[in-house]
């Protein structure tokens, strides 16, 4: 049997999520529990609350605290060309098909601070497709979106990104795309000409465009099965027939209800193709 304290904490977390939903219309009620539990405990410590219900009280009454709490409800970790094999597989197996469309729409769902979408823009540029592409980069974290649009990354990470870029089949040098500025690097503005950054939630919003590629990496891991099904349902509806879906390295369609709507293209890189109409 579980101890009562743990039961109570879980109950309080559920109440807090309900309160956040009613007050701020952000829906975290179907997020994976284990990770939420961990991050709510961290938030309690950070904000000096003895109980989850104290945190809830403050959240209800202090809107400014909610925006800080968004950093605890969501996990902002990203990297340029994270898992180079994924980007290499896009180049080799997806780009040749995208090339056949006169205009291309792509959706990076859960783009965080932009590392993934800037990587994709560079890839499209090198393949000569950026000019006729439109990339929607969406997230619920508005601060992350702002950072993403800025295209400015910590100089400490650049060496790692360059290595990833090379391993991903990069055709130039990553240094060709940024200029150094103080403690950061700023990526070439022309790369984001065709990127639209927008606030969009996979938990509460609906499909907004038809696209040929959805890249949604390391976002579904934070959702429970029901919400994963909702999100993948949105991707299925947004994708054209034969359109591509790329997931994170350890994410799989296998356990969800939409598994039949897709077939693997590069299984080990989690790249799928929509087969259903």
């Amino acid at each position: 049997m579980r101890d009562q304290e743990a039961e109570l904490r879980d109950l309080e977390i559920r109440l807090l999520l309900e309160a956040v939903y009613l007050r701020y219309h952000y829906d975290f009620r179907d997020y994976a529990t284990a990770s939420l539990r961990r991050r709510m405990t961290q938030a309690m410590m950070k904000f000096g609350c003895a109980r989850i219900s104290d945190l809830q009280h403050r959240l209800l009454h202090e809107p400014a605290l909610f925006s800080q709490m968004l950093q605890y409800f969501t996990v902002q970790v990203s990297e340029m060309f994270r898992d180079p094999g994924y980007f290499l597989a896009l180049r080799q197996h997806v780009i040749p098909v995208l090339r056949t469309y006169p205009s291309i729409k792509l959706w990076v769902a859960g783009c965080s601070s932009g590392e993934e979408v800037w990587s994709l823009a560079i890839l499209l540029h090198e393949e000569g497709l950026l000019e006729r592409s439109l990339i929607y980069a969406t997230d619920i974290n508005t601060e992350a979106l702002k950072a993403a649009a800025g295209g400015r990354f910590d100089v400490a990470n650049v060496a790692g990104y360059s290595k990833n870029y090379q391993a991903s089949g990069g055709k130039a040098s990553l240094g060709d795309y940024y200029t150094s500025a103080y403690d950061g690097v700023i990526f070439d503005r022309s790369l984001k000409k065709n990127i639209v950054f927008a606030d969009h939630s996979l938990s509460t919003d609906s499909v907004f465009s038809e696209v040929q590629l959805v890249s949604c990496r390391n976002v579904l891991i934070y959702f429970n099965r029901a919400l994963q099904d909702r999100a993948v349902g949105l991707f299925r509806d947004a994708l054209v027939r034969g359109g591509f879906l790329g997931l994170g390295n350890k994410e799989s369609l296998q356990f969800g209800t939409h598994a039949d709507a897709f077939e693997p293209v590069v299984r080990e890189q989690r790249i799928y193709r929509k087969i259903a109409p």
């Binding site: 101890d3 994976a32 296998q254």
Partner: protein
């Protein structure tokens, strides 16, 4: 120390943490599991972050049970051994599945032992056995404390028996344990399930 563990009834899951020296220790531990061993075993071994891991394959060769690396929402199957993948934390989501996460590294490690142990404690409470093995880290101390607070059982490898003594010694000092055992004794208990 609890008198004995009736495996079939008292333990629903086993979590294991290991760091430096862990590959060798885990090879012995997995080698000791009998083919009819039922409780699922979830393992965090500290790994280099940016390399795909072959640990499940490598150690699977020594184990009578299926050994695999977790995917997100992977089902926890009885009679199997699951490793956290490199660069993700592995958490117990509910009695039937794990969830992965990219939360910040804990004590420079991702995967880390603390998140696995703490999340397992929250789900399995007193039906959990946690085993902390060799390592040159203090990861696992917090997790082991959470396991014991929730009524679970903690076994720690005797520091003098471990290739790297820091991790077990730190956890013993911080959290204590139901039993301090040599690796051979742990393996023996697995073989006997007692």
């Amino acid at each position: 120390m609890k008198p004995s563990l009736d495996w079939q009834h008292d333990i629903d899951a086993i979590v294991v943490g290991a760091s430096a020296g862990g590959v060798t220790a885990l090879r012995e531990l997995l080698g000791a599991l009998p083919a009819d061993f039922r409780p699922p075993m979830l393992i965090v071994l500290h790994l280099p972050r940016h390399r795909p891991s072959t640990i499940a394959e490598v150690l699977g060769a020594y184990c009578a049970l299926p050994v695999y690396e977790a995917c997100d929402k992977q089902r926890i199957e009885r009679g199997s051994v699951m490793f956290a993948p490199p660069d993700y934390h592995m958490l117990v989501e509910d009695e039937a599945s794990v969830a992965l996460s990219l939360d910040e590294p804990v004590l420079f490690s991702r995967p880390a032992i603390d998140p696995l142990f703490s999340s397992a404690a929250a789900v399995f409470s007193n039906r959990l056995l946690a085993i902390l093995l060799t390592g040159a880290s203090t990861d696992g101390s917090n997790g082991l404390a959470a396991v014991r607070r929730a009524g679970g059982t903690a076994w720690v490898q005797a520091p003098e028996d471990a290739t790297a003594s820091m991790m077990p010694a730190a956890a013993l000092a911080y959290a204590g344990a139901e039993a301090v055992l040599t690796l051979e004794e742990i393996c023996q208990r697995m073989r006997n399930r007692a």
